[in-house]
Amino acid sequence: MMTPGSEAELAEAIAGASGPLCIQGGGTRGLAVEGEVLSTRGLSGVELYEPGALTLVVNAGTPVAEVEALLAAENQRLAFEPMDHRGLLGTGGEPTIGGMIAANVSGPRRIQTGAARDHLLGVRFVDGAGQVVKNGGRVMKNVTGYDLVKLMCGAHGTLGVLTEVSLKVLPRAEAAATVTLTGLDLPAAVRAMSAALGSPYDVTGAAYDAETYQAHIRVEGFRDSAAYRSAELVKLLSPFAMAEVLEDAESLWRGIRDVAAFQGRDGDVWRISVKPTDAVELVPHLEAEALQFDWGGGLIWALVPAGTELRNRINVPGHATLVRAAQETRARLGVFQPQPGPLTAVSEGLRRQFDPRGILNPGLMG
């Protein structure tokens, strides 16, 4: 394992590599490819934090927990609510900022505030030839040149290894309230969540648990405002079901974020992204053992028997990622869904440009 202590050392390590590299932050998502491990954990620490400008610049190997604690001290947070994969995957280690960005990890609040990529202002990375590149910066509005910032977010280290990222942070809400509707089937739950998300009440979470038949709808903000909006939502949603309001549901939302319902249960876990109302049409075809829904129904977590090829069953636009499975299944089915023809050509072209020797997490994204 190589653990360079600076960006320059990391660039040297890549330039001097003679074979495939497995790029790793905390290693909590279990996506290791074959090759020598190149860890970013030696690149740790906060470079700049300006609470009044909502800006944070941090080295890629910094633990997410360290950043969250720093922000919490100023009553701020990473608004996109990144998932912690350790419970679901049974992995150890410490999630890093670089890993979180490389995988564009986002949670329930993604429907309101955007994904990790929407909060990423700038990156520094080392490409597959060992060249250091920067793109974007530390300001919120920046259209200077191409947005490689977005391209790097979600590239899973296949175009370059992140060394430093700039993030937009947001104020932490003073209060939250969760409206829970009980006894809904999926079609009714999606309709209720759509009604809530189409209301002026600024919903920051809309999830459905198909095992308890409960839909959860969250609002956040100043205390009186959260109380007002949750009360309005109860009225708005009364045609769907009786509602109850929970004021402190932090652990409920952490569970939704981390798919706690599937932790410790056998089987493969797939993550499917579709248009919310398409979930209703899709679900009967999935033949899943258990299902969880987030993002108003647009994010489906499916628990299926090990080795199942789920992608053949998807009959609506969208895509499916194999999040938890045996190595053999991953190799056979691929973690990420293949892209339509022209996009495959472009993606392959980009990988060739940024990693001409094909040594950065080879094969992970196609």
């Binding site: 977005k150 104020p171 189409g198 405002s225 919310p276 109302t277 980009l350």
Partner: protein
């Protein structure tokens, strides 16, 4: 501003090219008459003009694909054009190019309130996207000041912002999918009505690529339900430093207004003379708007005014009703008109870290004296996006050049302060030659490599964004292939 000299071989083939285009487009969609191509000679950066070889106005993705396939085959550069409102020269033609205008593609293809999306052809104007959903109390959030005229195609090309992006983000944060035609005519579908497109974030890199990677013909956009209400407050201060500190304190207190606008004294004076909005004469004026129910607005404005008062404002005016709210916005919204009344002006667009605001404004004041040109500042203070307006006289020999030199110095200052050359207008030709102040050669090379993949022959809007010297060898390959 230098542009590449036209390729004589292409100029000589005009008739053949027009014939080929007429074979795939209706007669009225191919514009070849010199008097008519003149309508496409510039965008809103009117100091630079050049009529194109031809202009085409296709009505469908298939027609766009047919046009691009022919131009690809003929080795002819293509400059895509939305509504032509770019302030950066993004749609400026060269004499040997085909202008591909999407203005006739302005249909709404689908509105879906349950899934909160709208799908439109990209020639549709920004404001009319909101117009298509306002009966259901929805809106499309990005709101560039040209929103009445500017097209979604241009918004995507430039990743346009607006006054309300502190809360709602810019175009890239509200774009879910596109249909894009690549230079060789290939039609690609990226993303869709689901929240995250699979694979690499190609949507992210296409948005803001200034029409250099493909021609986006259709877009799926996120629409939002309108808030219950909105109300502004106006706060005046004796110094830029104090106004800046006030903004920072408001954000630190956990309030997230939808807009924080900042105007300096020259701007206040000009706006007041023009619009008579009743602004106080002071060094710095803030207009801060919040949203929600009446009670929520009261609460947020209560917090904001408490912080504002702790900084001793010379004026603090809350809007009691819609009329007063409109008066508060009146001056700001007429800022550009007010400047146009006084003189010709050049509008810059650099972004700076909010904390360097006082320093940057002081330096701009000093530079204004050095260059002998007046400058007024309007500023999206929440996100650091500055709009210095430099006043000059287009009829006075040398004034435009002095103005451009002054503008370049301001943008370099933005970069030195930790910011960037452009926050929402794009690079176009205007800031092309400053790119090496923000990025190293290696940083730019990484961007060029992206274009190599999407447009290997470098035919799409090739003379924009990057310094001509930097792209010379790549553009030469296209010429040599002739």
């Amino acid at each position: 501003m230098e542009m590449p000299s036209p390729n004589p071989a292409i100029l000589a083939r005009k008739t053949r090219l027009a014939e080929r285009l007429l074979a795939v487009l209706p007669t009225d969609a191919v514009i070849q008459d010199e008097a008519e191509t003149r309508a496409y000679e510039c965008d809103a950066l009117t100091a630079y003009r050049c009529p194109p070889l031809l202009a085409v106005l296709p009505r469908s993705t298939q027609e766009v694909s047919a046009v691009l396939r022919i131009c690809h085959d003929e080795g002819v550069p293509v400059v895509p054009r939305g509504a032509g409102t770019s302030l950066a020269g993004g749609a400026l033609p060269t004499a040997d190019c085909v202008i591909l205008g999407v203005a006739r593609m302005n249909e709404v293809l689908e509105t879906d309130f349950e899934n909160r999306i709208i799908r439109v052809q990209t020639g549709r104007t920004n404001l009319s996207v909101s117009g298509a959903v306002e009966d259901e109390d929805f809106f499309y959030a990005p709101d560039p000041s040209s929103q009445l005229a500017c097209a979604i195609a241009g918004n995507i090309a430039m990743n346009s912002g607006g006054a309300h992006c502190l809360k709602y983000g810019v175009t890239t944060n509200n774009l879910l999918g596109v249909t894009m035609v690549m230079m060789d005519g290939t039609v690609a579908e990226i993303g869709g009505a689901h929240l995250d497109a699979g694979g690499l974030d190609l949507l992210g890199v296409i948005c803001g690529s200034e029409g250099q990677l493909g021609v986006v013909t259709e877009a799926t956009l996120r629409i939002l339900r309108k808030p219950e209400g909105a109300r502004p407050v106006l706060i005046g201060y004796d110094s830029n430093e104090v106004a800046g500190a006030c903004v920072s304190d408001i954000i630190k207190a956990g309030v997230l207004p939808v807009a924080i606008e900042f105007m300096d004294r020259p701007c206040i004076e000009a706006c007041e003379a023009f619009a008579k909005a009743g602004y106080p004469m002071c060094e710095a004026l803030l207009i801060i708007e919040v949203e929600g129910s009446e009670a929520e607005i009261d609460h947020q404005l209560g917090l904001i005014t408490e912080i504002a008062r702790s900084h001793n404002p010379v004026e603090l005016r809350e809007a009691g009703d819609a009329d007063e709210a409109a008066r508060i916005w009146l001056g700001r919204k007429s800022a550009f008109g007010a400047m146009g009344q006084i003189n010709d002006y050049m509008c810059l667009d650099g972004t700076i870290p909010v904390s360097s605001l006082p320093f940057v404004l002081r330096r701009i004041g000093e530079m204004s004296k050095e260059f002998g040109l007046a400058v007024a500042n309007v500023f999206h203070a929440g996100d650091g996006n500055m709009h210095p307006l430099i006043l000059f006289d287009a009829n006075k020999p040398g004034d435009l050049e002095t103005c451009e030199a002054f503008g370049a110095e301001i943008l370099k200052l933005c970069v030195e302060a930790g910011g960037c050359l452009t926050g929402e207008h794009g690079v176009g030709i205007e800031k092309r030659d400053l790119m090496l102040h923000q990025y190293s050669a290696a940083d730019l090379e990484a961007q060029l490599k992206v274009k190599d993949v999407f447009d290997p022959k470098w035919l799409l809007n090739p003379a924009k964004v990057f310094p001509l010297k930097v792209t010379e060898s790549r553009r030469a390959v296209a010429l040599a292939a002739e």
